[in-house]
C-alpha cells in the first residue's frame, strides 16, 4: 500500500470497475457521474470512499477534483489500484486522502462496505 495523500476518514465505499476521467465525466455541482458508458452513471461520488482502478485523461482533471472539493461534492477519500498523476495531484490540491492498494486488496473491497482509513496508523484500512 502506498499513501499518496494522507488523512483520516470513515465512510461507505462506492466502487467502480471503470477508470474515471474527472474532466468531463463528473458534474462538478452535484458530484454525479454523467457519462452514460460509465458503470457509476447517475451515481453521486459525494461523501463516499471512492474506489476505482485509476484516473485517465487530461491532467486538467486535477482542477476538477479541486472544484468538486470546493463545491462540497467530493469523495471523502479515494482508493486506487494504480497511481496516476492526474488523480494524485488533484487529491493533493484538494487535500483528499488517496491511497494505492495492491490488486488483491483492491478486489476485496466491495461496494457499500463501511471503511475507516487512517494513513498514519499501522493498519490504515479497517473494514467495519
Amino acid at each position: 500500500m502506498k499513501v499518496l495523500v494522507s488523512g483520516k476518514v470513515e465512510g461507505t465505499v462506492l466502487k467502480s470497475k471503470d477508470a474515471i476521467n474527472f474532466l468531463g465525466t463528473v458534474d462538478k455541482k452535484t458530484g454525479i457521474i454523467s457519462d452514460k458508458n460509465h458503470d457509476l452513471y447517475e451515481k453521486s461520488i459525494k461523501d463516499t470512499i471512492l474506489v476505482f482502478p485509476s484516473g485517465v485523461g487530461s491532467s486538467v482533471g486535477a482542477y476538477t477534483i479541486y472544484s468538486i472539493k470546493s463545491n462540497g461534492t467530493a469523495p471523502l477519500a479515494m482508493i486506487c489500484q494504480k497511481a496516476d498523476l492526474t488523480v494524485a495531484t488533484g487529491c493533493a490540491l484538494a487535500n483528499i486522502p488517496l491511497i494505492v492498494v495492491p490488486d488483491e486488496e483492491f478486489s476485496s473491497i466491495n461496494n457499500g462496505m463501511k471503511l475507516s482509513l487512517d494513513t498514519d496508523s499501522s493498519h490504515p484500512l479497517q473494514y467495519q
Binding site: 462538478k28 486538467v60 482542477y63 497511481a83 494524485a88 495531484t89 490540491l93 487535500n95
Partner: protein
C-alpha cells in the same frame, strides 16, 4: 519517500496553507513515481496558462492561491490564448478575455515572469550542464534534456507549480539516470522539419521515458524544435539520447512506411484555408530566415505566425516585422498554434502547417482539418 525535517514541517501545515498544498503535490507526485527524496531545482516553466485548457476551475484556483503564493525560483510561463495587442481583431468573447486576463494577473502576482512562450530554451540563458529544472511544457522538457544538458521530468502543470513554490522536485525517473530500452534508426532520406516532426511523434509513441536515436544528419534549429514538439505530443517520453544504444535495446526503424503512417494519422485535408507557422513558437533565427525566404513574395491566404513577445520586439527593431507583414503575415505573440481560440471550426475548415505538434492539437482540440507541408513547400505553393 524520505523528507527532511523542514519538508515534514511544511507538509504538516506549519509553514502555511500554500506550502502545505505544494508539498502535498510533491509528495503525491513523488510517491506515484517512486522518488526517494526531493532535490532542489533552479528554474521552473509552467503550463496551465491558456483559459481554453484550464477553464473556470483553473482560473478560480489560481486566483485563490495567488493571494498568498509566491514563487521561490526563476519561473517562466507557457503561452496563453491570445495576443493582447491585437485581440480585438479576432472576435473573442468578453468572458474568455476577462478570464484569460485574470489568469495572467494571478501568475504575475505570484512573481512569475510573464514570458508566455513555449520555447524558454531559446529566449532565456541556459544554466550550467546538469542543472535540475522543472519544465511542464513537453517540447521544452525534451529540448532541455536532449540539447541543453539540463535535467527535468515531463512535469505536469501542478508538479511544476509546486516546484516553483518550493524550489524542489521529486528525484525520480530522468532526474536520476536513464537507460532507454528502445533505439530508433532514422532511415528516411532528405528529411525536412516535417520529417523530423513525424520522427519525434513516432519516437514518443514507441518510447517510454527516453529513446536512443541514430542515423540523424546535421540538423538545424527548426528541425530540432520540430522533433521535440512531435515527441511531446504523442506520449510520455521526454528525452532523445543520440546514438545507437547498446546491443540489448530493441531496434526500431523509422522508414518511409512508418513516416507515412504518422502522416496519414495527422494529415486530414488536401489544402488549408489559412496557414500557421510556429508550434513551437518561432525564434529570432527562424523569423530572420522566413523574412529572407519571403523577399519579393506575398501569401495568397492568411498566414498566422506565432512568436514570443521578446522575439517580436527584436524582430520589430531589426525590420523583419515590416518584411513579414508586407508579405501578408499576421504576427502574434503570447499565444501559439496549439489550443488557441483564434482558430475555430466555425470559420476555418482546414489549416496548412509544418508543425506536427500544431497538427495534433488543431485536429483534436480545435476540430479543424490539417494539411501538412514543409515550410519550403508552403512558400512554393502558397505565395506568389
Amino acid at each position: 519517500m524520505e523528507l527532511t525535517r523542514e519538508e515534514e514541517s511544511a507538509l504538516k501545515g506549519e509553514q502555511g496553507e500554500i506550502m502545505e498544498m505544494a508539498y502535498r503535490i510533491l509528495v503525491a507526485t513523488g510517491e506515484a513515481t517512486d522518488a526517494e527524496k526531493l532535490v532542489p531545482i533552479e528554474w521552473t516553466h509552467l503550463s496551465g496558462v491558456n483559459y481554453n485548457t484550464i477553464g473556470d476551475a483553473g482560473e478560480e484556483f489560481l486566483s485563490s492561491i495567488s493571494k498568498d503564493a509566491r514563487v521561490k525560483v526563476k519561473t517562466t510561463l507557457n503561452p496563453m490564448g491570445f495576443d493582447i495587442d491585437n485581440v480585438s481583431n479576432y472576435g473573442l468573447d468578453e468572458n474568455f478575455i476577462s478570464k484569460q486576463l485574470s489568469i495572467r494577473n494571478s501568475y504575475e502576482t505570484m512573481g512569475v515572469i510573464p514570458s508566455f512562450s513555449c520555447i524558454p530554451y531559446e529566449i532565456f540563458d541556459i544554466p550550467k550542464d546538469g542543472t535540475q529544472v522543472a519544465f511542464a511544457e513537453s517540447n521544452a522538457a525534451i529540448h532541455a534534456n536532449s540539447y541543453d544538458n539540463l535535467k527535468t521530468n515531463k512535469e505536469s502543470a501542478f508538479s511544476a507549480l509546486a516546484s516553483a513554490l518550493t524550489g524542489k522536485s521529486p528525484y525520480s525517473s530522468l532526474r536520476k539516470e536513464d537507460s532507454p530500452n528502445v533505439s530508433i534508426r532514422m532511415k528516411v532520406d532528405d528529411p525536412n522539419e516535417l520529417t523530423y516532426g513525424m520522427l519525434g511523434f513516432f519516437a514518443g509513441k514507441v518510447g517510454d521515458i527516453s529513446v536512443n536515436i541514430s542515423g540523424l544528419g546535421e540538423m538545424d534549429n527548426r528541425q530540432c524544435k520540430a522533433m521535440c514538439g512531435g515527441m511531446g505530443t504523442s506520449g510520455t517520453c521526454a528525452k532523445f539520447i543520440f546514438g545507437e544504444g547498446d546491443s540489448g535495446t530493441e531496434k526500431i526503424d523509422f522508414d518511409e512506411k512508418a513516416m507515412q503512417n504518422v502522416h496519414d494519422e495527422l494529415n486530414t485535408s488536401e489544402k488549408g484555408d489559412i496557414i500557421t507557422l510556429g508550434s513551437p513558437q518561432l525564434g529570432l533565427e527562424e523569423i530572420s530566415e522566413l523574412a529572407g525566404k519571403l523577399k519579393g513574395r506575398t501569401f495568397e491566404k492568411r498566414c498566422m505566425i506565432f512568436t514570443p513577445r521578446t522575439v517580436k520586439e527584436q524582430a520589430n527593431k531589426i525590420g523583419y516585422t515590416n518584411e513579414l507583414e508586407r508579405a501578408g503575415c499576421e504576427i502574434l505573440s503570447d499565444c501559439c498554434t496549439c489550443l488557441t481560440p483564434l482558430i475555430n471550426k466555425d470559420n476555418v475548415d482546414a489549416v496548412t502547417t509544418n508543425s506536427i505538434k500544431g497538427a495534433f492539437y488543431l485536429k483534436n482540440s480545435n476540430g479543424v482539418g490539417v494539411n501538412l507541408k514543409s515550410l519550403s513547400q508552403i512558400i512554393e505553393d502558397e505565395t506568389r
